[in-house]
């Protein structure tokens, strides 16, 4: 009998095992839902499939009776544009500050402690300040997402930049490179894929800040809708929305990973 750590599942078994927890959760839900609905057919807590399907049709495929727009589409567009702008701003700031902080001793001496302290501020604690300064519109939400993840991206990228072997930086100087040329040709190209890693890791936090901001003050967005529906105990809407958000987050992560593989082939060649 070989040790457990040395036993590898084959492809079919691996696929089956991968599906197992998902199927188990769905079956558990169905059993619990069935049990509750048999006691009270109007139970709202664990709605049956038909109720959920009807809610999905209402939210996604039929125009809203009051506004005439498709709510799921509208919510998705609002949320994704807030998330996209916030993450993009954080990525640009994180990229610039991270690389300079990792490479240039004077810059590091100036900003290292400062970004360290900034990253310790819980972003949700400054949300009221953001609402006061930027109002209840789009800007405050975008700023929360950006402020929430930028410190992490800066610190992550600064560490990755410091990990570039000293030999490479010396070699570039013996080839006549200036500081600017080293940044442009040696550091930035090697750090872009690391920056994507940093963004991928911070996407979960970005969603958290977005939904929190939308829950508190908004008139559209996926987070807004979930918290609105909570008042009516409309689990038939909330559950598909949560699944949809998860799918969006998963797709974003996958897209970034694929982009990294295609754009930075040198990282994957030969190794």
């Amino acid at each position: 009998m070989r040790r457990l750590i040395n036993r590898q599942p084959d492809v079919v078994v691996r696929f089956g095992l991968m599906l197992l927890p998902f199927v188990a959760v769905i079956i558990a839900y169905m059993i619990a839902s069935e049990a509750r609905l048999s006691v009270n057919p109007n139970d709202k807590l664990l709605p049956g499939w038909s109720t959920i399907a009807a809610a999905i049709e209402r939210m996604a495929f039929l125009p809203d009776q009051r506004t005439g727009s498709y709510l799921l589409l509208q919510d998705t567009v609002s949320s994704l544009s807030r998330l996209g702008i916030g993450v993009a701003v954080a990525t640009v700031i994180g990229g610039i500050f991270g690389i300079l902080q990792g490479l240039i001793p004077y810059f590091r001496a100036t900003f290292n402690a400062f970004t360290g302290v900034l990253s310790m501020i819980p972003p949700l604690a400054v949300l009221p300040i953001l609402f006061i300064i930027f109002g209840l519109g789009e800007l405050a939400k975008v700023v929360l997402v950006a402020v929430g993840i930028a410190p992490f991206i800066i610190r992550d990228l600064a560490l990755r930049t410091e990990e570039i072997p000293h030999e490479e930086i010396i070699k570039a100087q013996t080839l006549g490179a200036s500081t600017w040329q080293i940044i442009l040709r040696i550091v930035v190209p090697q750090m872009l894929p690391r920056l994507i890693d940093g963004v991928r890791l911070s996407l979960g936090a970005a969603w958290l800040f977005l939904i929190a901001a939308e829950a508190i003050a908004s008139d559209s967005g996926l987070g807004y809708r979930i918290f609105l529906m909570r008042r009516y105990l409309a689990m038939d809407v909330i559950l598909p929305y949560v699944a949809w958000i998860t799918l969006l987050a998963f797709t974003l992560d996958l897209a970034l990973r694929l982009f990294q593989r295609i754009a930075f082939r040198w990282m994957y060649r030969g190794n």
Partner: protein, 257 residues
Amino acid sequence: MTRVTVENVWKVYGDQTVLENINLEIEPGSFIALVGPSGCGKSTFLRMMLGDEAPSRGRILLDGEELDAEPSPDRGVVFQKYSVFPHLTALQNVMLGLEFAASPVMARLFGSRKRAAKAEALDMLTCVGLGHAVHKYPSELSGGMQQRLAIAQALIKKPKILLLDEPFGALDPGIRAEVHEILLRLWRDEGMTVFMVTHDLSEAFKLGTRVIAFDRVRTRPEEMKAYGATVTFDLKVDGKSVPPRPEIRDVLAVAAQ
């Protein structure tokens, strides 16, 4: 041709003396092999030559002038590892030195200037036997090929001095002999001065025109901190001479006819 003079150089880290009282006069075009046990400061000496570190006392002169306190293109280098850039192909790695010099802002060349740089880089790659692998990334090259690439990348700048920090330490014996031949040929052709740190004595005597050993003279435990390593042997290798300078060689060739 560059004369290197090392005058009374010391290197001290905190209260630990690493090197003491190094005095050397290096003939232009020499191939200097630096040997010594681990931790004797031979790599530290090379880093001072490179400008990566400054001597604590004394000075190093290049043709009578104190050398720059930071790395510069007159001193090329090949390390044991991380000498080439992983995100650039072999060709891009070699072209890089030309692009830095010709394009301060973009650090890239375009059009005819790019074609000229590419041709020069291809020549250099062919010289080190990498003509067939110009579009490969370093991770796709073997250890010996990576070191040949690192040599080509350094030599495209035509450095006066080439510094090698255990460049062949990680290579198989067969591959090592191959790279030795390439290095010797380029050294003769380019007329540069080479400093090579190695812990392999046979390599030192095979390649060097002069073998310099660093070691600690005082080895009692209580003396280890206060006294550093210094030059303990300085041997001219018999039967080897510094090759004639390229400009003289041409004259000699004409005279021989």
